[in-house]
Subunit: 170 residues, 2 copies
Amino acid sequence: MSDGRSGQFNRGESLLFLTDEQLRQGIEAMFFAYRGFTADPDRILAKLAYGRAHHRAIHFINRAPGTTVNNLLSILGVTKQSLNRVLRALIEDGLVESRVGTADKRERHLFLTEAGKTLEAELSNAQRARMRAAYKEAGPEAVQGFRKVLEAMMDADMRRAYTKLRETSS
Amino acid sequence: MSDGRSGQFNRGESLLFLTDEQLRQGIEAMFFAYRGFTADPDRILAKLAYGRAHHRAIHFINRAPGTTVNNLLSILGVTKQSLNRVLRALIEDGLVESRVGTADKRERHLFLTEAGKTLEAELSNAQRARMRAAYKEAGPEAVQGFRKVLEAMMDADMRRAYTKLRETSS
DNA sequence: AGCTTATGTCAGTGATGTTGACATTCCAAG
DNA sequence: CTTGGAATGTCAACATCACTGACATAAGCT
């Protein structure tokens, strides 16, 4: 790691000791934090006999109403058969509506019903509350860094999906 | 998007637009990043017919050699039945050794065998490589914020486990 | 001796993922 | 136009893994 500076570190690198130990702490922080991240929605979902797969489907249908099953598949990264079971349950329970495509009748466009939107809001509110609290506790500068590292940790195709979602929502 | 930044915030909060939209982006970043975070180990584990549960067990046994089953349970947050299935497999495959406690013979103390350490290193290296790359891409200041937000997102008991691990490792 | 603790095990259930087979629809080559 | 392939989505069977509940065993504690 020859940075060829006169001093041992330049200003930018001096805070970044990438020892295995530091990295492992980051790994463990990620593990524990993700548990907290999903804890609140999990509690709500458990009462309804739903799991995280249902939450993810509801989240992204809400995010991009009218999305097709195929589109959802690529975002969620599961097989279509897996997603189908989840969608079937949500449709039967009246949370999601599936409309045959007009241009291409093979496609199904997915929408949340009023009941679906209600559950989505309940899940979102719980998760946002925790995120808001964490942001507030960590402070504004920390939030920038948080987002930056997370984005750098994604696979290329995930980052594409992520930035695409950011665009369409604005 | 009502961000109304005319004079509504004081200096400290001015960088922190806690709109629902901003929070949702954080949520999605967390979702996608966690997939990237586990992708590399998952590939290695799949070849051995192991899952993430095995990885977590191996990780924390390596982190705290001699830990008891009960201790591991509280860190991992799974049921003993679940953990037992995992441990049984790892012991049968010669990756983990279970020694009866000397002071309290009810306890089992867990250690990685040489083969276990080899697999742990393989998994760790893959995950650290990604973490290192993400840290490098995001920059030093970002790393501080990343860690700070993650810690703030944990449940209280998780944060206790996390900081305890940090102490014992130093 | 009786109560509690630590661990392990068996049985049943549920969520989630997989592969395979199949129906429907679209599109393009002949 | 017809036919065959590709795309989209659905249904069925099976595997994995987590959970709850019940119980067994051994050891420590009062």
